[in-house]
């Protein structure tokens, strides 16, 4: 093993079992105290946070522990006249929150409670001439938004309302030497952006634009000796990449290129056995 390579250490006393009950508690408790510092200070991310929380609860089989009626009310309160969703009351709508809102509605099977037509209109309005998407009326373009747009309308069964081929071609223009993708043409490959681009191409039927072997290899090389995955070369592992990297590999039919057991060991070690929840790497918050 080489010395000095950026990687995390797994402490001796790290958890080795999945502490599912603790995670259920962690999410359930989160938000119960509206004056909790971290919770309150991240209100501008509320809609996204709510999606991740609900999604996790659903996967763990405990979605019933979330208060469905107040979630629905929250969604309704956050949709504005132009069809987009705010992250929380008072803040401005954005494509990021709009996807999260639609995803939450799908989890709770309550799409009829939101203005679907409004969402379609809002998302359509953000597509540019070249096929990319702005995050909001202020014009920032990024493939995170391309994915938000196509995933959103795909969930609503309205993908054909967008210039789908143009969106795929924009993603194609972001292809890099290593087979990966970045946020815009010319931007460096990054596992999170790779997920958004591969996801976009999968949803729009253009996966053949990807060199699956080249990209699959680059993604497989995100796995470090600790078993954890980083987001790009020579960076520290972060448990969030277990999602971005693995989901991308799964879409590319190459998930077996990651050492499953080693990754599991890393992920289990990221758990906090006091509070529940996961840290980005063992020993962190």
């Amino acid at each position: 093993m080489a010395l000095g390579r950026k990687d995390a250490k797994i402490p001796e006393d790290s958890p080795t079992e999945l502490l599912l009950e603790k995670h259920v508690e962690f999410i359930k408790k989160y938000g119960e105290d509206p004056d909790d510092y971290e919770y309150a200070m991240s209100d501008f991310l509320r809609m996204n946070g709510l999606y991740w929380g609900c999604s996790a609860m659903h996967l763990m089989g405990h979605i019933d522990k979330m208060d469905k009626s107040s979630v629905i009310q929250f969604l309704k309160d956050c949709q504005v006249e132009n069809g987009g969703f705010r992250p929380v009351q008072g803040h401005d709508p954005h494509l990021l929150n709009t996807l999260s809102a639609v995803q939450i509605a799908v989890i709770f099977d309550c799409l009829d409670e939101i203005d679907e037509e409004g969402v379609v209109k809002y998302v359509k309005s953000l597509q540019t001439e070249e096929g990319s998407f702005m995050g909001d009326q202020w014009g920032e373009v990024d493939n995170r938004f391309t994915f938000c747009a196509v995933a959103c309308l795909s969930l609503l069964g309205r993908l054909s309302e967008l210039e789908v081929d143009k969106a795929a071609d924009f993603v194609k223009s972001c292809l890099n030497f290593d087979g990966g993708f970045g946020s815009r043409p010319g931007a460096e490959s990054h596992a999170g952006l790779i997920y958004t681009c591969v996801g976009t191409l999968a949803v729009t039927g253009h996966l053949h634009y990807v060199d699956a072997d080249r990209l699959g290899w680059w993604l497989a090389e995100r796995q470090l000796d600790s078993g954890g995955l980083n987001g790009r070369p020579e960076k520290l592992p972060d448990v969030c990449y277990s999602w971005w990297v693995l989901a991308s590999l799964k879409i590319l039919n190459r998930i077996h290129w990651i050492d499953k057991e080693k990754l599991k060991t890393f992920m289990l070690a990221c758990q906090d056995n006091e509070t529940g929840g996961f840290a980005d790497r063992p020993g962190n918050m």
């Binding site: 971290e38 501008f44 401005d92 970045g182 946020s183 931007a187 699959g216 918050m285």
Partner: protein, 452 residues
């Protein structure tokens, strides 16, 4: 909440922290409430600018606050401000974004607001922006926000690609492990030294880059940055799509292509007349293997074309089956890897020699071994086949995390070897072993395997 260490605190420390945080939260809520209600009341003034600036300094990721600033500024610009006033006002935005970036150099909101502000300016100072990029890249040479921003500034300021190429050389010189710099290089070279097709580089430039990257890779063989760039340089050019074969069996016509195409692009002609046809593949729109049903005539010609490719099947009475090969047929003389010319061969042989020497010093260097295999493949895929396979077997043991990857590479290479040698039976057996379905479009239908 990435990168925050969990630290054990005493009860006293906890108490103090709680008091501090309660106060901070109160101040934050108060500030936000005032800003948002004043906005609702229609105020677009200096007070809003001051208030949002204060919150943004410690919370640069609150998009709505940046939006409010943009609204206020656009409102101010509506009244007849002379050009210099506008730029003076916007200079404050640059100051603000700069101080926000010191708190969070990766804040999307701060970088975008800076971009937006410069777009509004009448006379932006691009040199100042390039200098800012220099500073931030010195702090973190992998900050992709800063690299992206630099590329945008360079395009606005009409900085030459040559200049930018030199900049990447500087960064690589400071630290060979600068993946971001290698990446930028990969974008600039095809513009400055274009090859025959899109995104390729002139051959002699490929050779000099190989030399450069080998120096980098050998300085620290465990660092992946230079090795990734190295494999890209060894890669083959993308070819235009070609027809592999077209086969007729009874009333079923099969078209095989080197790459996926849209079925709508395929043109079918019977006796010279275009015929509407429905092609089915595994995918609805894009596939490399398409099948259609035809009511077949007993004699005559069937033509299938795609872009500039065309193949013709001559039908004969009593002959149920017929096959024609296209330009994409892969036999010994038309391989999966384009055979190198003399000069490239020399360069590759030198690179191979370098790798072999490094492996003597560092026999466990997986990057060196994998690159050696790729060079062997680029030189002579048929002759070096066994040696490449044994490198991959060794890699499965050296780099166990990626054992399945190396297995699949082996499978793919074995398929290609058999396809080139037209060993159809062995190929059929190999195909069923593989995890990933490679080259299914090259697998000849059983009826034709012995005939050829």
């Amino acid at each position: 909440m990435h990168g925050r260490v969990k630290v054990k605190t005493t009860e006293q420390q906890e108490k103090e922290r709680k008091i501090e945080r309660t106060a901070k939260l109160k101040a934050y809520r108060q500030a936000m409430s005032t800003i948002l209600s004043r906005r609702d009341e229609g105020h677009k003034d200096a007070t809003q600018l001051k208030a949002t600036a204060q919150v943004l300094q410690s919370n640069p990721d609150i998009t709505t606050l940046w939006n409010i600033r943009k609204e206020v500024l656009l409102d101010i610009f509506k009244s007849d401000e002379s050009a210099s006033e506008k730029d003076t006002i916007l200079a404050k935005e640059l100051e603000l974004t700069q101080s926000c970036l010191m708190v969070n150099p990766k804040s999307y909101g701060a970088w975008y607001h800076r971009t937006w502000s410069l777009q509004q300016m009448v006379n932006p100072n691009w040199n100042k922006e390039l200098a800012l990029c220099d500073r931030y890249l010195k702090l973190d040479e992998r900050n992709f926000h800063c690299w992206d921003y630099r590329k945008w500034v360079a395009s606005q300021a009409k900085v030459s690609c040559q200049n930018e190429l030199e900049f990447t050389m500087e960064k690589i010189g400071e630290n060979f492990s600068n993946y971001s710099a290698w990446h930028y290089r990969s974008k600039l070279l095809p513009i400055l030294y274009p090859g025959h097709s899109a995104q390729t580089i002139q051959e002699d430039k490929v050779h000099s880059e190989l030399d450069l990257v080998q120096n980098a890779a050998f300085t620290d063989p465990e660092d992946s940055s230079a090795w990734f760039y190295h494999t890209w340089l060894l890669g083959k050019e993308e070819e235009r799509v070609k027809i592999v074969f077209c086969a007729l069996q009874s009333d079923t016509l099969t078209l095989s292509l080197t790459k996926p195409v849209q079925n709508s692009q395929i043109v079918l002609k019977l006796h010279g007349e275009a015929k509407e046809s429905i092609w089915t593949g595994v995918d609805d729109r894009f596939d490399s293997l398409w099948v259609t049903r035809i009511s077949r005539p007993s004699e005559g010609k069937i033509q299938v074309s795609l872009e500039d490719q065309e193949v013709t099947l001559s039908l004969e009475k009593d002959k149920e089956e017929s096959l024609v090969k296209g330009d994409g047929w892969k036999s010994l003389t038309n391989r999966f890897v384009n055979p190198p010319n003399q000069k490239t061969k020399e360069v590759l042989k030198q690179a191979l020699e370098n790798c072999s020497q490094l492996l003597e010093l560092e026999p466990d260097s997986k990057w060196t071994l994998y690159t050696k295999a790729l060079i062997l493949l680029a030189l002579e895929s048929q002759t070096n086949h066994q040696e490449v396979l044994s490198c991959l077997e060794k890699l499965k043991m050296l780099d166990t995390a990626r054992a399945n990857y190396y297995s699949d590479v082996k499978n793919r290479l074995e398929s290609e070897y058999l396809i080139e040698r037209e060993e159809w039976t062995l190929l059929g057996e190999k195909y069923s072993e593989s995890n990933v379905a490679y080259h299914r479009q090259y697998i000849l239908p059983a009826a034709f395997r012995n005939a050829l």
